[in-house]
């Protein structure tokens, strides 16, 4: 049963997104789990304080006990009582290139994850479902690597300067022209770090007296950039166009909070694919709203560039829209291109302005030359300009993998969030113990996954997140699916009741409160 949203013909193909609600029994058991963990946490803290149990945390020195405390113990409560117990599922050291398979260094802990020791062995060929390796460019051999090695010997490893001083190489100019051509915009600018692209450029675009409307689930870099800019921030519910329209109407009608003056600029911050939910932004509706209310749109395509669209041009191509409708097209090279850094694309005046006013351009070093060459080679490969059809094959393989993987997981009965076409697949775990158990069981079966829990997600929505890659062959996916099904049966994770909730399943209610800063 597919729900096609034909919003006046804005969508050219079905937009299927589903966020099945937490089953009530599971929610109650999750709270019981967290309650038990909290009570035991208090008990252990009591024992540690009265020296019955050895305290392995950092504590203040005896001489400083009478001073005002440096840390608040309670802020570390979650860390030492919940996170420490399942800490071995994160920060696993790897010792090979993280392609479709990766080698993980084995480590054990004899004191319940407070310290780790290496056994000396390496777990070989762990199926890698955690890397953002969407098009499979994370390789250490092939055309990209050879070109990058040549540039390394010619230009050196580092630039040691900012773009405005001595760090503007001809490679950077070539890259920027290529990025602009790839995206279909007039001009583009690249930066050394994807996080810094957001956090340093949003303050250059908006300031005090402007309004930022940002999605509920925006990434930390967007949130940091918005806060650094000094503009007023209002948050709309995730991917909910009624909420966004209401905020826009209120903003234009009421103006700035006390003075009622009109806002200098209204900027809508959205992402292409949201990496924790696997949902895709409703771009046609956002662009329609943006045009109706005359605001600006900043689209962060960190996960969607290269991963969506028939030729990998991102979410704009996926919906068949005009890239000139989006005012600021931002993205990163970290995910689909196997490199590092970020870019911003848009009109020529905008990019020229950013070249002089952006903090990254003035203070941060520019991209390193071998990385630039990696981006150039991989981008040409995706566009098909290197003479092979490798790029197109990768994009198609990723789309096939996505559809196959999601369909099989849904059939097995897991609750999967997100859009059917997004290569990020969150599988719901819910209970705190299952987070740790899932990570460990999957590693035992030679599959590496990323699990997330509270407080990075809402308290009843902990999940495991799979990132599909074009480097995964069907055999790898079948092995992974078989193991996931086994672990799902073992841990009883197959919660889905196969009720396809309609698209507006997250009802738009007015009753959430946000922190107001006056």
């Amino acid at each position: 049963i597919h729900h096609i949203v034909q919003n006046g013909g804005l969508y050219k193909k079905p937009f299927n997104e589903a966020f099945e609600e937490t089953p009530m029994l599971v929610a109650v058991l999750t709270y019981v789990g967290y309650g038990v963990l909290t009570l035991f946490g208090y008990l252990r803290d009591f024992l540690r304080q009265w020296k019955i149990e050895k305290c392995q945390n950092a504590t203040e020195r005896e001489e400083q006990k009478d001073f005002v405390p440096l840390y608040q113990d309670f802020e570390n409560f979650y860390n030492r009582n919940l996170y420490m117990r399942i800490r071995d599922s994160w920060n696993r050291p790897i010792c090979s290139v993280p392609g479709a398979k990766v080698d993980v260094i084995e480590r054990v802990s004899h004191d319940y994850n407070w310290t780790f020791t290496y056994t000396g062995r390496v777990i070989k060929d762990v199926i890698n479902m955690g890397s953002y390796n969407y098009l499979g460019f994370a390789q250490n051999n092939g055309a990209c690597q050879e070109a990058a090695a040549e540039v390394l010997s010619q230009y050196g490893a580092g630039v040691c300067s900012t773009r405005q001083e001595m760090g503007n190489l001809d490679k950077h100019e070539e890259l920027e022209k290529l990025v602009a051509r790839f995206l279909g915009v007039e001009s583009a600018m690249t930066y050394g770090m994807g996080f810094a692209t957001n956090s340093m450029n949003i303050p250059a675009l908006v300031g005090k007296g402007c309004l930022i409307l940002s999605d509920e689930l925006n990434h930390a870099s967007l949130v940091l950039g918005a806060r650094l800019s000094g503009a007023t921030i209002r948050i709309f519910k995730h991917n909910n166009m009624q909420s966004l329209e209401k905020l826009l109407k209120d903003a234009i009608v009421h103006g700035q909070p006390r003075t009622r003056r009109p806002w200098k600029k209204i900027l809508i911050l959205v992402e292409g694919i949201y990496s924790m939910e696997g949902s895709i932004v409703r771009l046609p509706e956002v662009i329609a709203l943006k045009k109706k209310y005359k605001s600006y749109l900043y689209l962060d395509e960190a996960h969607s560039i290269g991963a969506l669209g028939p030729t990998g041009r991102g979410v704009v191509e996926y919906f068949g829209l005009n890239p000139e409708d989006v005012d600021v097209l931002m993205g990163t090279f970290t995910k689909s291109f196997g490199a590092a850094g970020g870019y911003i694309g848009g009109k020529k005046e905008l990019i020229d302005y950013l070249r002089t006013h952006s903090h990254s351009a003035v203070y941060a070093t520019s991209l390193s030359p071998p990385v630039v060459q990696q981006i150039i080679t991989s981008m040409k490969c995706i566009m098909g300009e290197d003479g092979t059809t490798l790029g197109k094959a990768c994009v198609q393989q990723l789309a096939e993998n996505t559809r196959y993987f999601r369909r099989r997981l849904k059939e097995m009965g897991f609750i999967i969030y997100g859009n059917e076409d997004s290569p990020v697949v969150p599988l719901m775990l819910y209970m705190p113990a299952k987070i740790g158990a899932f990570g460990r069981e999957m590693l035992k079966r030679n599959i590496g996954v990323v699990v997330v829990g509270f407080p990075a997600t809402p308290i009843i929505e902990s999940r495991a997140r799979f990132c599909l890659s074009a480097a995964h062959t069907k055999e790898i996916l079948d092995t992974a699916l078989k193991e996931i099904s086994e672990v799902g049966d073992l841990l009883q994770l197959k919660y889905s009741r196969h009720r396809l909730v309609p698209l507006l399943d997250r009802p738009f209610d007015e009753t959430t409160y946000e922190e107001t800063e006056d």
């Binding site: 608040q72 979650y78 689930l217």
Partner: protein, 153 residues
């Protein structure tokens, strides 16, 4: 796994009490406590009800009105460090539905306890004082108020 990594909710503590299934779990927890107390052989029914009421109010006072701050680091430079959980709920907005629920539930428990103890004077005094310890901190006028400087830092 830190706050603010996957969403822009600055303090998840504000939303915990209104998430799906929390009220039901809370009611089931109180019910379980009462059943456990009733199953102790030498405890009579009125004493069991008074004990349920008193223990519930003690737990509520400790977790909602005595413990301050958040058990995790928040990205807002510690705005909520000196606030109890009750004061953090919904970022300080009064009369929201979870606040109403958690105000009404000790009152209902008090009614039930008074009925089952047949309005006996000792039980009445115990139940009423414990109800007052849990109702007075919930008044909006007492938002952020620390009497005699107790529990200020």
């Amino acid at each position: 796994m830190n706050v603010g990594v996957a969403h822009s909710e600055v303090n998840p503590n504000t939303r915990v009490m209104s998430s799906r299934g929390m009220w039901l779990s809370y009611a089931l927890g109180v019910g379980l406590l009462h059943v456990v107390l009733l199953s102790v052989p030498f405890v009579s029914v009125p004493v069991a009800w008074t004990l349920t009421n008193v223990i519930h109010n003690l737990g509520m006072y400790v977790f909602l009105h005595a413990v301050k701050g958040t058990p995790f680091e928040t990205p807002d430079q510690g705005k909520a460090r000196l606030l109890t959980h009750w004061e953090q709920l919904d970022y300080g907005v009064q009369f929201t539905s979870s606040r109403k629920f958690f105000t009404i539930s000790p009152i209902i428990l008090y009614f039930l306890a008074s009925f089952y103890t047949k309005y006996d004077p000792t039980h009445f005094i115990l139940n009423t004082t414990s109800l007052l310890t849990v109702l007075i901190p919930k008044l909006p006028q007492l938002h952020g108020v620390r009497i005699f400087g107790i529990n200020k830092y």
